[in-house]
Amino acid sequence: MSDLALPRTQEAGLALRRLRFLVWTFRGSPSALLGLALVAGFLLLAAFGPWLVPDPADATGAMHLAQRLQPPSALHWFGTDEMGDDIFTRVIIGTRTSLWVGLTITGIAALIGVPLGVVSGYRGGALRAVIMRVTDVFLAVPGLVLALAIVAALGPSTLHGVVALAIVWWPGYVRLIEAKALTLRGEPYVEVARTMGAGHAWILTRHILPNCFSPFVVKASMDMGLAVLAAASLGFIGLGAKPPAPEWGAMISVARSYMPDQWWYSFFPGLFIFLTVLGFSLFGDGLRDILDPRSARG
C-alpha cells in the first residue's frame, strides 16, 4: 500500500501515539510487563548469546572430563555436565536454537493456516466445508502424538521436529482466522467496497486480512512459547535435536539419568523452558489488552 503512504510527519505522529498507548497498557499490568521483560531478555540472549558466554566451545561438546558434573559455582554458574561442559554456556546458546524453532514452527503454521482460514471464512459454502473438515481431522489427532509419528518416519533431527510440529499447528490458525473472517464479511465497509467494484482479491487483501491481524498476533505470540515447549518435548524423547547440540529438551533427556544428585543439570534447562513459555504467554495477554478494544482499559 505504498502509494497510499501519508506524509512522513503525520506518520511519525501516529506511531508516537501508538507507542504511548503501548507503554500505558503495559505499565498498568505487572504481568504484561513481566512477559515483555522475559521476551525481550530471551531475544537479546538469542541475538548476543555467543559473545556473552564464558566457554563458547562447550556449546558444541568440547570435552573437559576433569570438570565433569560439578555443582553450580562461581566459575560455572549452572554447574557442568557429564562431559565437563559449562551448562550455563549451553543453556544460553540453546536459547538461539529454541527461539528459532519456535519462530519457524509458528511461522510455517501461520503461513498455511491464515490464508486457508481467510478464504474459508470469506467464501463460505463448499470450500469452507472442505477446509473445515480437513482441519477437523487434524485437530482430532493429539498434536504431540502426530508429531511423534511424523518425526519417527522422517528420522530424528531438529529440522524434522520443526516440520512435524508445524504440520500439527496450522489447524488452530484456520479455526481462529475463519471465525474472524466470517464476521468481517458482513461488515458495512466490506459491502461498500463491493459497491465500488472491488473484487474478492482486493477485499481479501485490503479489508479482511488487515483486520485479522489482532487475533493472529495474540495467538502467535502465545504459540511461540508453546512451540518451544513442544520442540523441547521432542528433544526430550530423543526425536529432536541430537547431542551434543545444546538443545534444552535434549539436555534434560540426558540429565534424567543423573537425577537427583546432580539436580542442576536438569533444573536450569527446565527453568529456561518454563520462563520462555511463561514470558510469551504473559506477553500475548498484554498484547490482547492492547489490540482488543473491548478488553482494553481506557
Binding site: 504511548r20 498507548f21 500505558w24 497498557t25 482499559r297 481506557g298
Partner: protein
C-alpha cells in the same frame, strides 16, 4: 425534601489519553410525582448521569470527583451491598434503550421476569406476578408469552417487557434512557402512551432521557438541557420550546426538521462537540456560541437561581424568568 437531589456532582473517566471530565457539576432536583426530561446530544453525559443514580458506572474507570446524589434522603454515593441492591429496582427502576441487547437471548421471558422478581425478594406466586406485570404493560396472552424467547417478540413487545422488568420492584422513580429510540415511529407512539399511562396510574416519578425533543415534549412537564457534561437550561417544557434562553437550546430547536414547515431548512450548529479530556475553559459551549463574550471563556456560568453563583455583576438579565410560578433557569451570561 425532593425525591431525587443531585448536588455539584462531578464524575471523571480515567483513560490512557488522559482524564475525561464527563459530568461537570450537576445540580438537579426532582420532586415526587414530577415528569422531567433530560435532553442532549452525544457526549453530554445524560446516560452517564442516569446510570450514576444507580451507581452503574464501573469505578474504575469512572471516578466520583465531588458532589452528592440523594434519593429519598439517602446518600447513593456511599451505598454498598444490600442498601444498593435495594435501591436498584425497588427505589429506582431503569428502562434501557435497546431491547434487543438488554434482554438475555438464551432465557425465556418468564425466566427473566422470574429472576427479577426473586431478586426483589418474592418467593411464591412468581408466575402470577409475572402475568400481572406483563398485563400491566398491555401485553396480551401473557401466559403464553412467558414461554417465549426474546427473538420471537417484536421490538415494541420487547421494550414493554423491559418496562415490566423495571416496574417489578415497585419503584418510586422510573428512569427511562432513550426508551423508544430503537423503535418504529408507530410503535414509539404506543410505548410512550404506555409510559404516560403507567406514570399516572402508579403515581411514578419519571426521568426521561432522550435526544429527541418530540419524545420529551410528549411526556415531560419539565425539561433539562445538557451540553458537554453540564446542565445549561432547566425549564418547564412549554417555556423552553416557546422561549428558549440558552443559545445552544435555540440552536438545537433550529436544527430539528419540521414536517409542517418544509420551507424552513434546519440549521446545524457550527463546530462540533468538544473533547471532554480537554474541554474549553469557562462555558463549554463558548467556542460555538454566537453570543460569546470574553467572560464566557474565563468562568463557567452557573444555573441561575442557585445560591453562590458566578460574578453577579457580569450577568445581564439574571433574574430567573418565571412562567406560571415555575422557574426557568439557564446557565449563560448572555441569556
Amino acid at each position: 425534601m425532593s425525591l431525587l437531589e443531585v448536588r455539584g456532582y462531578r464524575l471523571a473517566f480515567d483513560g490512557y489519553e488522559g482524564t475525561a471530565q464527563v459530568l461537570n457539576g450537576i445540580d438537579l432536583s426532582v420532586e415526587e410525582g414530577e415528569a422531567v426530561g433530560i435532553v442532549g446530544e452525544t457526549g453530554c453525559g445524560k446516560s452517564v448521569l442516569a446510570r450514576s443514580l444507580l451507581r452503574l458506572n464501573p469505578e474504575p474507570p469512572a471516578r466520583i470527583v465531588s458532589g452528592s446524589i440523594r434519593f429519598a434522603g439517602e446518600d447513593v454515593l456511599t451505598m454498598r451491598g444490600a442498601a444498593l441492591r435495594k435501591l436498584r429496582g425497588t427505589g429506582i427502576g431503569m428502562v434501557f434503550q435497546d431491547p434487543a441487547t438488554y434482554l438475555n437471548p438464551v432465557f425465556t421471558i418468564g425466566r427473566q421476569l422470574e429472576d427479577v422478581l426473586r431478586a426483589h425478594g418474592h418467593r411464591r406466586g412468581i408466575a402470577d406476578r409475572s402475568v400481572a406485570l406483563l398485563e400491566s404493560v398491555q401485553l396480551r396472552d401473557a401466559g403464553a408469552l412467558l414461554r417465549r424467547y426474546p427473538h420471537e417478540l417484536s421490538g415494541g413487545m420487547r421494550q414493554r417487557v423491559l418496562i415490566a422488568q423495571a416496574l417489578a420492584g415497585n419503584p418510586r422513580l422510573l428512569v427511562a434512557d432513550e426508551p423508544t429510540t430503537a423503535l418504529d415511529v408507530t410503535v414509539q407512539r404506543q410505548v410512550l402512551a404506555l409510559i404516560a399511562d403507567l406514570v399516572t396510574r402508579l403515581r411514578l416519578t419519571l426521568l426521561l432521557i432522550s435526544h429527541d425533543l418530540g419524545v420529551i415534549g410528549a411526556l415531560c412537564r419539565r425539561v433539562v438541557v445538557m451540553y458537554a457534561g453540564t446542565i445549561i437550561e432547566d425549564a418547564p417544557t412549554a417555556a423552553l420550546l416557546s422561549t428558549p434562553r440558552h443559545p445552544y437550546t435555540r440552536g438545537l430547536l433550529a436544527a430539528v426538521p419540521d414536517l409542517d414547515r418544509p420551507d424552513r431548512l434546519p440549521r446545524g450548529i457550527p463546530g462540533s462537540i468538544p473533547s471532554l479530556r480537554d474541554p474549553p475553559s469557562g462555558c463549554r459551549f463558548h467556542p460555538r456560541c454566537p453570543l460569546a463574550m470574553p467572560v464566557c471563556a474565563s468562568q463557567a456560568p452557573r444555573l441561575d437561581g442557585d445560591g453562590g453563583g458566578g460574578p453577579a455583576g457580569d450577568r445581564r438579565g439574571d433574574q430567573a424568568g418565571c412562567s406560571g410560578g415555575e422557574p426557568h433557569r439557564v446557565a449563560c451570561y448572555a441569556a
